[in-house]
Symmetry: C2
Subunit: 216 residues, 2 copies
Amino acid sequence: MARKISESTVRRLSRYLRRLRELDARERRSVVSSAGLAQSTGTTAAQVRKDLSHFGSFGKRGQGYPVRALREQLEEILGLTQRWRVAVLGAGKIGSALLGYGYFTQRGFDVVAAFDSDQSRIGLDLGGVRVQPLSELKRTFEDRRVAIAIIATPVEAAQQSADMAVGAGARAILNFAPVKLDVPEGVAVREMDVTLELEGLCYMLTTGGPAADDTE
Amino acid sequence: MARKISESTVRRLSRYLRRLRELDARERRSVVSSAGLAQSTGTTAAQVRKDLSHFGSFGKRGQGYPVRALREQLEEILGLTQRWRVAVLGAGKIGSALLGYGYFTQRGFDVVAAFDSDQSRIGLDLGGVRVQPLSELKRTFEDRRVAIAIIATPVEAAQQSADMAVGAGARAILNFAPVKLDVPEGVAVREMDVTLELEGLCYMLTTGGPAADDTE
DNA sequence: TGCTGTGAAAGGGTTCACAGCT
DNA sequence: AGCTGTGAACCCTTTCACAGCA
């Protein structure tokens, strides 16, 4: 298998998968064409075919792609044949929302722990998870083999939280705090900054019309 | 001014701005070099200079960029010299979190309304905003000149909510529901799907090491 | 005929390298 | 000397177009 898959390709694969799960579970379709997938996923047919072709030939010429099988292939490719354990750092507004987020379970993620530095939140039960003090973080990460940490703290505490998570064995971080995190090489970070996205929308509104590729 | 700025450029501009605000308000620095900005923003010095050069010359050779002035320039470019009114559709977990999100105000966004279809949530006060029934959506959007809608409903209700928002005059949508929305041309959409990001991280974990450009 | 798989072409974004101010 | 502004080179992604099967 050829490596060096770009991040944008991975993002699209994830979207294809999301759609395939819908087609499979909800709409009971058994085949899709590249054009169909492209349509419902915001890209082009050629792009879909090219993306998939990096990993093999999954379709039948003249028919399209078998939904179920392609879904399984993509799960395999993205590393989703196992369930992943996730911990949330910061049990404020965003942290709480994530702890009750319904789509994690059905998409293969289990939130197994939550942490906060605020004494008043420790012990709370949020979405079935008990909020623990930071002093228990390392132990819990190790015991429960947590590989992914979600940072949902205020900006000031984000870097420090990330350091703790990494020190406790986390190898990937999803960061909701609006700061760039410094992490050692080998640790993957993705950032979700609501305001950043809103600003992007403002730019489009201000300059008039979506910036080229967006809506389509 | 030359148009046709790529989405990735806009994203970076937004990050520069985020950093400049820190430098200005918190760290009281009055100049930054392209290298400095790049460092704290996850890109390269050349990229910073190139991005800014699309809009003019803001720096002094030999010294760097004046923090305050550059911040103002970027606010201008991104269309952030005005405050933007935002409405949240869906007052569940995520919606509630957004209604109390502390960074909106300081970054120029005002959440002025919230809507839900669930009778039991209507009338609730979340972060100072009263949850309204959908029947009041159009009126409120018009009265308060809401240009941006944040969709925080379950998947099933997302498209319909988007349609209502657009029908009521929204020209930009930030979508938290994990589905691709169909919107008329001219309406900008950005998607925030937590699971999608987590899947991206899994891919990196599975294939070993961040995919090239990520950590750096 | 219909749709995939894929080299080749086109298009854009990023990096280089250096001239040009301060 | 130090750091910006920028054309040119490079590289990577997307699009095109068509051969190849079902």
